[in-house]
């Protein structure tokens, strides 16, 4: 028995390693390799087609002290993150609450609200371009119908970021599903206990649902935060960063530096700064989570 078992273990180990090989190699060559390379590039003045030489921390210094566009794009990105994440969390959570009720046609509703996240990003963006059209777009037509003044949406500096945030919130289906799963795993005996004690819906929500959901909220928040910092596609398609860099999200700026201005060294440095920012913010979120995230098992 014993020998058999160890043979099995050995075989499992060998197969395990073999089967993990493709993923490991992929990670090594297509993720870790480029990451290390980009760090090296960030210390050079390499621009595509030209000679490159080692410049130490020059790129970082220029970015942090002499690049007004960097400052602007960072500001725009933070604004976008702050405008998107809280609203998207509320929207996804609210939708999940609604869709967790037992109503007729539940699956239809769930499909409807999940649909936007299946629509390919670019297709969704094209749709919103039409909705946002100031002259004949649907949104302004609705405003006009109710006698409200229209907006310039993504075409004016002031409203561009809120408009794009609005569009991102439209695609929260994935997060909604995660919330929905979380809601369904809230232990029912806790609700029953509240009922026994004569508590109503509000008490149930604030004393059971919300505390039980904090790990899910936390997870979604971290993921959304990272995702929002790295947003690129819709802005690239809709505004290319304009008007007057009002929607120049960080990654759009990075792309512009790398592929329009062909400064790969500088762009690599930008990407490392973004990495540091995201890591720092994620760490802060994790730190504060100890104060408000509740795990049933008592673990942290």
């Amino acid at each position: 028995m014993r020998r058999n078992k160890s043979g099995l273990l050995r075989m499992e180990r060998r197969w395990g390693m073999l089967l993990a090989l493709p993923v490991t190699l992929g990670l090594l060559f297509f993720a870790i390799g480029p990451i290390v390379a980009s760090f090296v590039f960030s210390m050079t003045d390499w621009h595509i087609g030209g000679q490159s030489s080692f410049v130490g921390l020059n790129n970082y210094e220029t970015i942090l002290t002499k690049d007004p566009v960097f400052t602007k794009s960072l500001f725009v990105t933070v604004y976008y993150v702050l405008a998107t994440v809280p609203v998207a969390i509320l929207a996804a959570f609210g939708l999940a609450m609604l869709l967790n009720r037992k109503v007729k046609g539940l699956s239809v509703f769930r499909t409807i609200f999940f649909l936007p996240s299946i629509v390919p990003r670019i297709a969704g963006t094209m749709l919103w371009l039409w909705l946002f059209n100031p002259d004949f777009g649907l949104l302004n037509s609705i405003f006009e119908y109710f006698g409200l003044p229209g907006s310039q949406w993504i075409y004016a500096e002031e409203t561009a970021i809120p408009s794009i945030a609005l569009m991102s919130v439209w695609g929260v289906g994935n997060y909604m599903i995660i919330f929905l799963a979380g809601l369904q795993s809230v232990p029912t005996h806790l609700y029953e206990a509240v009922e026994v004690d004569g508590g109503g819906a509000w008490r149930k929500f604030f004393h059971v649902t919300l505390p039980s959901m904090t790990p899910t909220i936390f997870f979604n928040m971290v993921m959304m935060q990272i995702g929002a910092f790295q947003s690129f596609d819709s802005v690239y398609v809709m505004t290319q960063g304009g008007p007057n860099n009002a929607t120049l999200l960080y990654v759009v700026y990075l792309y512009r530096i790398a592929f329009t201005e062909t400064k790969i060294g500088y762009a690599s440095a930008l990407s490392w700064i973004l990495f540091v920012i995201i890591v720092a913010l994620t760490l802060i979120t994790f730190r504060t989570s100890r104060k408000w995230v509740y795990y049933e098992g008592g673990g942290k």
Binding site: L25, E157, G241
Partner: protein
């Protein structure tokens, strides 16, 4: 024991499969960068270096010359793609020892070229934007044509303005075709309003005031009122007199016409905040917000292509390049005409075109140049007759028969002889941006700053003053003219 052996075999097999997969995928990766549209060719493709490496003796005895394979990359519309494919096929048929495969790149061409450059997988011959041409030319990545003038004298027959020099005498590229900025208009609107057509003779170009007054007569709100009429509703304009893009194609010729420039004469100082330059941008801003004859930036972004704007009477006159003739002619519901641009001081326009280059990495410069000379030869390519291109060779502007060869067709209305050929010959200069060093970087700062003018956030003077601090550090001078 058998189980064990089986296992070993299985793991070996698996390893083999894995190796196979990685090998295949890397092969596929290479194939991706290879031409996909090579219908006329045997699919057994090898890169030039690979074909160099295997000159087997028996083959050599049969065919005295080895087949040289070249890769050509280009952008363009469906029409252009078709024309290029035909040209490549004709070239391959008439040059048995050179086989060219074409690759049409839709979408963001510059990004594609940049990544190919970074990966060192460049084609032999390719279209290229003027900014990258200059940059790579000065970094020694492009073939210096002047070295081959002896071998291929035709290389010197082009119009002087069509060469791009990175150093005096060092020509690294030619414009693929010439294109100049002109004025297009809907003839029917002019006829109905009883307004004389825009001049096609460059010497009779409208002054700016004449132009604005015509544009006002053409602009109508929903009730048929013109901008100067009492009760004119600027928010509900049905037909705009004029629409223009906000890039160098618009301000470029007007700056030239006003004796202004992006940089000063020395090429080392920012000059857009000099009075002559400010005047140009202020006049353009006024067209939108003071004269009310042009749509604003947002309305423009949501308007269709120029030929549709004219056809649907959304706009009566547009500023566009000569390449637009193809679309304008294909739009059979439109009766369009061509005129010259209004002048500020002198009648002027600019040449704004992409180039074709030969990369220095090519293993076969001679064959590449042979193809180069063929690829935009008006006798081989029908893009001249369809209106997309204008020739770069001098004789097509001077020799009667040669002019007829490419202009005697529906895509070139009679007034093209003046507003196209004469305008190009006597009044067109290379776009100032083409001559600027570091233009791509300058433009990426310039364009967002100019948005403030186009959106009426700032006056031209204020916006252009503000840009100085950003642009001045990026200035690296100009490229020579010859």
């Amino acid at each position: 024991m058998l189980g064990n052996r089986k296992q070993r075999w299985l793991s070996l097999l698996l390893a083999a499969v894995l190796v196979g997969i990685t090998a295949c995928s890397s092969k596929n990766g290479n194939d991706e960068t290879k031409p996909s549209a090579s219908s006329s060719q045997p699919t057994e493709e090898t890169s030039p270096s690979a074909s160099d490496a295997s000159p087997s003796a028996s083959e050599a005895s049969e065919s005295p010359k080895e087949v040289v394979k070249l890769k050509f990359m280009y952008w363009g519309s469906t029409d252009e793609k078709k024309a290029m494919e035909n040209m490549i096929k004709a070239f391959n048929d008439s040059h048995p020892y050179i086989q060219v495969t074409g690759e049409h790149v839709p979408g963001d061409y510059n990004t594609k070229m940049n990544t190919l450059m970074a990966a060192n997988e460049l084609p032999d011959v390719a279209y290229l934007g003027d900014g990258l041409t200059n940059q790579w030319g000065s970094e020694g990545r492009l073939l210096d044509f002047s070295q081959y003038y002896g071998q291929y004298p035709e290389l010197q027959n082009k119009l002087k303005a069509s060469y791009l020099y990175t150093e005096p005498g060092k020509a690294v590229a030619n414009f693929t075709a010439l294109e100049v900025m002109v004025l297009y208009y809907n003839k029917d609107i002019f006829a109905e309003e009883g307004i004389p057509l825009p001049p096609a003779d460059p010497a009779k170009a409208w002054t700016w005031d004449e132009f604005v007054s015509v544009a006002k007569k053409l602009t109508k709100d929903k009730k048929g009122k013109h901008p100067d009429d009492p009760g004119f509703d600027a928010k509900n304009i049905d037909t705009y007199g004029f629409s223009f893009g906000t890039d160098r194609g618009t301000y470029g010729p007007l700056l030239e016409s006003n004796g202004a420039g992006i940089l000063d004469e020395s090429g080392m100082n920012y000059a857009l905040n000099k009075p002559e330059a400010v005047e140009v941008f202020q006049k353009l801003q006024d067209l939108i917000y003071v004269n009310h004859v042009s749509p604003n930036l947002i309305q423009q972004q949501n308007m269709p292509d120029n030929h549709v704007r004219l056809q649907t009477r959304k706009v009566a006159m547009v500023l566009d390049g000569t390449w637009a003739l193809l679309d304008l002619t294909n739009n059979t519901k439109l009766h369009y005409g061509i005129g010259v641009l209004p002048k500020l001081k002198e009648p002027k326009t600019v040449i704004l075109a992409g180039t074709t280059v030969v990369f220095n990495t090519t293993k076969h410069p001679a064959e590449a140049l042979e193809f180069y000379l063929y690829h935009n030869n008006p006798e081989q390519v029908d893009l001249y007759k369809t209106g997309l291109w204008m020739p770069t060779e001098e004789k097509y502007y001077t020799d009667e028969a040669a002019i007829k060869l490419w202009t005697d067709n529906p895509a070139h209305p009679p007034e093209f002889l003046q507003a196209g050929i004469e305008y190009t010959k006597g009044y067109a200069v290379k776009s100032p941006s083409t001559k600027l060093k570091n233009w791509p970087e300058i433009n990426s700062k310039l364009a967002p700053g100019l948005d403030l003018i186009w959106t009426n956030k700032k006056t031209a003077q204020a916006a252009l003053d503000e840009l100085q601090a950003q642009i001045q550090p990026l200035i690296k001078g100009k490229y020579p003219d010859e």
